[in-house]
């Protein structure tokens, strides 16, 4: 079974600075997807960015980018020019590409605080 580990329960960043959230995973598969989700306080969880394992190029979405290291099974999220609205719980997730009905496996989350 796959596992996802987020070793940072909490992180803080100054507004306009850059922060990196860590995520590692364990799998024996070679084809899969990785995701970062954001859950603001009392609001809906939304997808921030996703990465397809067969693509070597790191995904980027505006101020959000990932550092995908397949051999190391590492998938970190970098947030540039942090804004107050980035404060939220961030979940890393894994999904196998194989098999019908494949489910997401989530990490335990990292609470990000953005300070003025």
């Amino acid at each position: 079974a796959q596992t996802v580990t987020q070793s940072q329960p909490e992180m803080s960043v100054q507004e306009a600075e850059t922060v990196t959230l860590s995520c590692t995973y364990d799998t024996s598969e070679s084809d899969y997807y990785l995701f970062w989700y954001k859950q603001p306080p009392s609001r809906q969880m939304i997808l921030v960015i996703r990465q397809e394992a067969y693509k070597q190029q790191n995904a980027t979405e505006n101020r959000f980018s990932v550092n995908f290291q397949k051999a190391a099974k590492s998938f970190s999220l970098k947030i540039s020019d942090s804004q107050l609205g980035d404060a939220a719980m961030y979940f890393c997730a894994y999904r196998s590409r194989l098999g019908w009905g494949n489910k997401l496996t989530f990490g335990t989350g990292t609470q990000l605080k953005v300070e003025l």
Binding site: Y33, Q44, M45, L47, R50, R97, L98, N102, G109
Partner: protein
């Protein structure tokens, strides 16, 4: 913009009451999921469905039950609520077919308090 809707958003109810948490999606997704999220924020899968008349228990044992009579509707029921059921419940869905390329779409959640 949410295409998956959960009602109620907040619910405070007495012990022993029967409750149903509603979840509906308009995207035609075949797979749907219920997660329980405790104050520590960790997500626990309690139920999932791969389509109409298909329901399975998740990784975390739950006293709740679910049904999937229509593709768009995936309600969760607690026959007799207890304070231990106090939690946030998140509903999610994902697109048809294999691949899982796009992850899940989540509802806004129902925060349940049993007193």
């Amino acid at each position: 913009e949410a295409d998956i809707y959960q009602t109620p958003r907040y619910l405070v109810i007495g012990t022993g009451k029967k409750i149903t948490l509603e979840c509906s999606q308009t995207m035609g997704h075949d797979k749907m999921y219920w997660y329980q999220q405790d104050p520590g924020m960790e997500l626990h899968l309690i139920h999932y469905s791969y389509g109409v008349n298909s329901t399975e228990k998740g990784d975390l044992s739950s006293e709740s039950t679910v049904s999937r009579i229509r593709t768009e509707h995936f309600p969760l029921t607690l026959e007799s609520a207890r304070p231990s059921h106090t939690s946030q419940y998140l509903c999610a869905s994902s697109e048809p077919g294999q691949g899982g390329r796009y992850g899940y779409t989540f509802g806004s959640g129902t925060r349940l308090t049993v007193v």
